[in-house]
């Protein structure tokens, strides 16, 4: 067998942080090679080097025996590398065919040939079972369809090596299965594939060979037929970290409910249709769904960012009338935002200025901030929540993802909230940091708080939630007990189907 891709001694640093440490491996032709590693292990960085988004300090990449020019995506494409990024790289307001064609004709050509291109795309989509309409606007496609466009984009440019970066992160279990079938078909037709993931079961299902990456270095390699889960997870994480377990607690009293809540929205994902839910003290209520089905709108509603157009919200037996972040904070709602960097912190401000961002009015005198109190408060948080930093004057943007999340958790939990909205709290964190976040949320649950956990990670959802519900097209499914539902059933709910009610004993919602 010939090697399709040969990575030779690649090293990449960001400042003092080593993202890739002298990595070498080969990808054989017609092979599916899985690259396993947890968040922050350097998988995406490595792929971005292969594709020329980043330039490595050392090492090089050979494709079919020829060395690639570093830092040039165009050279990588011409050499036959196709990449499906974790976050889709599509222009929403352009059509499918425009997205696919871009870059395939000379920029200086005075005309363009859309018909030929359309025909080629249609033929390819038939050959590989990737159904998509060339003239549709990308904004009108579902997540699964967008991913098909991403794969077609690569195939259109005659990719020989296809790299998929966490391709299942946004798919339902059923969609993932159909993706795996497509990949096997592609390999049968002669392509070679690198499949990046941190999910063991997927990697075992789809790959021929597995490489494990940890802290930027290759630590393990095995044929998939010889692999076993324990060895994989141990080499992925290093020392074993025990995930905290949700202990059984007595059922709490109801503290929070949404009754017939509607939010009008024109774009997909901004609409909420007739949402009913109730949540209790001492429980974690998990909500999941394919991204863009209204979870963000629900989170924004629960965080006080948007107002409902109809329906009402009850909290502690009071009807909520003031929808604003400030009034929610005053009523002891703790909110952990979806995007730490965008909504969670002001990156260019110091740690202490970020720490007081929800309480600064309470520690002021005559309109002046009490610096002494603020800094004292921050010192306590850093100590209590074990935030690793270079002191309270450090800019928040310089924190690692895990420590930034600790800062946000500290800010929220130090106010002893009764209701906690945690929106994707572990996104992008490594195993240690994930365990930390879950421990904190479970501790809050033990102390009687009600936690609403919004996540796309089904493992997380089922491991710590007491009850779960699924969002689809802005509607919320009935609520199920977490120990009585399977991932496959969740997958059906996520794609809009219903599941057999008798077997799962759904709890009927109390409607106002």
């Amino acid at each position: 067998m010939n090697s399709a891709l040969h990575i030779k001694g690649v090293t990449k640093r960001f400042g003092s942080f080593v993202a890739n440490d002298d990595i070498s491996f080969e990808l054989q032709q017609s092979e599916i090679l899985a690259l396993l590693g947890e968040n922050g292990a350097g998988k995406t960085t490595l792929m971005n080097i292969i594709f020329g988004h980043y330039v490595a300090e050392q090492g090089c990449v050979d494709v079919m025996g020829k060395t690639l020019a570093p830092g040039d995506p165009k050279a990588a494409i011409e050499a036959g590398i196709g990449m499906v990024h974790q976050h889709f790289t599509l222009a929403e307001n352009l059509t499918v065919i425009e997205n696919i064609m871009l870059g395939s004709e000379s920029l200086w050509s005075l005309t363009t040939d859309k018909t030929t291109a359309s025909n080629k795309v249609l033929k390819m989509s038939k050959d590989f079972g990737l159904q998509v309409s060339p003239d549709a606007k990308v904004s009108s496609l579902s997540v699964g369809q967008k991913q098909r466009v991403e794969i077609l984009k690569a195939l259109y440019k005659d990719a020989k090596v296809l790299i998929l970066d966490e391709p299942t992160a946004v798919l339902t279990p059923q969609e993932s299965d159909s993706l795996f079938e497509t990949l096997k078909l592609l390999v049968a037709k002669g392509l070679s594939i690198i499949f990046i993931s941190h999910k063991l079961h997927e990697i075992l299902a789809v790959s021929d060979r597995i490489l494990v990456l940890r802290h930027g270095a290759l630590v393990d390699e095995m044929q998939t037929c010889d692999a076993d889960k324990n060895r994989l997870s141990e080499s992925m994480v290093g020392k074993s970290i025990s995930e905290p377990i949700a202990e059984k607690l007595a059922q709490g009293t109801e503290v929070f409910s949404l009754n017939n809540i509607c939010v009008n929205g024109t774009k997909a994902g901004t609409r909420l249709a007739n949402i009913n839910l109730n949540a209790r003290h001492s429980e974690i209520l998990g909500i999941t769904g394919v991204s863009g089905n209204g979870q963000s709108a629900l989170a924004n509603l629960l965080c006080g960012i948007i107002k409902p157009h109809s329906g009402d919200m009850q909290f502690n037996t009071h009807k909520v009338t003031a929808f604003s972040p400030a009034s929610f904070i005053d009523h002891k709602v703790g909110r952990i935002p979806e995007d730490r960097i965008r909504e969670g912190v002001v990156g260019e401000m110091s740690l202490w200025e970020n720490a007081i961002s929800e309480i600064y009015r309470k520690i002021s005198r005559f309109g002046f901030i009490d610096f002494k109190k603020a800094k004292h408060f921050t010192h306590d948080l850093i100590k209590d929540y074990d935030i690793r930093c270079d002191g309270i004057e450090q800019e928040a943007r310089l924190l690692s993802g895990g420590n930034m999340q600790k800062l946000i958790l500290a800010r929220v939990l130090s106010q002893q909230p009764e209701l906690i909205i945690a929106n994707q709290p572990i996104r992008g964190l490594d195993v240690g940091a994930i365990a930390n976040v879950h421990e904190r949320l479970l501790a809050a649950r033990r102390a009687g708080a009600c936690v609403i956990l919004i996540t796309e990670d089904l493992d997380e959802l089922l491991s710590i939630s007491d009850r779960v519900a699924v969002m689809c097209h802005g509607e919320l499914s009935p609520i199920y007990n977490a120990d009585q539902i399977t991932k496959t059933q969740l997958g059906s709910l996520m794609s809009g189907a219903t599941i057999d009610n008798n077997k799962n004993n759904p709890q009927e919602e109390v409607c106002a």
Binding site: G15, S16, V55, P70, G71, C303, I305, S324, P325, A326, F328, I329, R335, P337, R342, E343, G344, V345, V346, G347, E348, M349, E353, S357, E358, Y360, R361, S364, G367, F368, I369, F371, L398
Partner: protein, 349 residues
């Protein structure tokens, strides 16, 4: 070419960067002097002499710096909140107009009250002027850059109308010139045989006040948060609309006071050519000061020196005085680059 974030940079480098930027701008502008066929060093020597060479020259520089400190503060405060106020010119004239309306006999108070009265009302009027684009931005998502720019032209035409109509000085023999400010409202000179007036001291006080406001108060904290990351600010409970309104009133107010100070301090009456672009130059002042209120003082004095010095250079050497504006524009660009290079390093590939 790529940019890579620098982890940290010694503070003295950050302070030195704008100075190097200024030096490079002067170097670039010497090309214009060479084009004019004049000796570069001699011309710059004349510029420095014209700006600092005598106590009179120095007083002229500080006089010119006075409105620049105010408009520089206006830009610095607004830009901190990422409110792109390019309307300093219009707000300047708004303040000047209100000083003329109220200060030319309509209201008479003791000087100790009259001067603050004119300042506050002028600031308020100019603040309201900036409030229009701010509210349009906040509630209707109208781009404030274009609106503030267009308002400059509207205000200038309005001033033109006032000076040929209701506010025209009857003694001006038809010149578009405003009625004079009554003696109680005039800013007293603070130097013998020079034009330097009380406004300069007020400008210093204003700069210190803005610094304290931005650094130590709740509102200052809110303005900085909103400017650096509006989404995070909103998420943590800051009222964005209110913060922008405060910013607009303060920023517009500063530019308005610049107008009051020029009318009541320098000439005593309003003319159409009162501002040779103080509003726009304020942007340069704020950028050079890296938006720091105390830095605005130094940076305003520097640019004032360029303007005053360029006048005497153009008289002595025959180089068109527009060179001063070129220098100001070039130094904005160079300062921008220097700020970038402090934060990033440029690497090949």
């Amino acid at each position: 070419m790529r940019l890579e974030i620098r982890e940290n940079m010694p503070i003295w480098v950050q302070g030195l960067a704008p100075i190097i930027a200024i030096f490079i701008s002067l170097l670039l502008c010497s090309l214009l002097i060479i084009w004019a066929g004049k000796p570069v060093l001699e011309s710059y020597a004349l510029l420095i002499k014209g700006a600092l060479g005598s106590s009179f020259a120095l007083s002229e520089t500080l006089t010119r710096a006075t409105p620049l400190i105010f408009t520089g503060l206006a830009a610095a405060i607004a830009f901190k909140a990422k409110l792109w106020n390019i309307g300093g010119e219009g707000q300047f004239y708004m303040g000047a107009v209100l000083a003329t309306v109220l200060g030319s006999g309509l209201v008479t108070l003791q000087p100790i009250l009259m001067i603050p009265f004119l300042m506050v009302t002028g600031a308020f009027a100019a603040g309201i002027l900036l409030l229009i684009p701010t509210l349009l931005k906040n509630y209707l998502r109208v781009d404030e850059v274009v609106v503030t720019l267009l308002l400059n032209f509207i205000v200038l035409l309005f001033v033109n109308y006032l000076l040929e109509g209701p506010l025209q000085d009857p003694m001006s023999m038809g010149w578009p010139q405003g009625r004079p400010i009554i003696d109680e409202g005039l800013l007293i000179p603070i130097m013998d045989r020079a034009r330097l007036h009380l406004g300069f001291i007020l400008a210093i006080v204003a700069a210190i006040g803005c610094w304290i406001f931005m650094k130590f108060t709740l509102w200052g904290y809110e303005i900085r948060s909103v400017g650096l990351n509006p989404e995070a600010a909103k998420f943590s409970g800051i009222n964005i609309s209110r913060t922008l309104i405060i910013t607009a009133l303060l920023s517009g107010g500063m530019a308005g006071i610049a107008g009051v100070s020029e009318v009541a301090g320098l000439k005593g009456y309003l003319t159409l050519d009162m501002s040779p672009g103080f509003g726009y130059a304020g942007i340069a002042v704020a950028m050079l000061a890296m938006l720091h209120p105390l830095g605005v003082i130094a940076s305003a004095i520097f640019f004032a020196g360029i303007y005053v010095g360029a006048d005497s250079m153009s008289q002595g050497m025959g180089i068109p005085s527009y060179i001063a504006d070129v220098m100001v524009a070039v130094s904005i660009l160079m300062v921008l680059v220097s700020i970038l290079l402090v934060r990033y390093r440029v690497i090949k590939g």
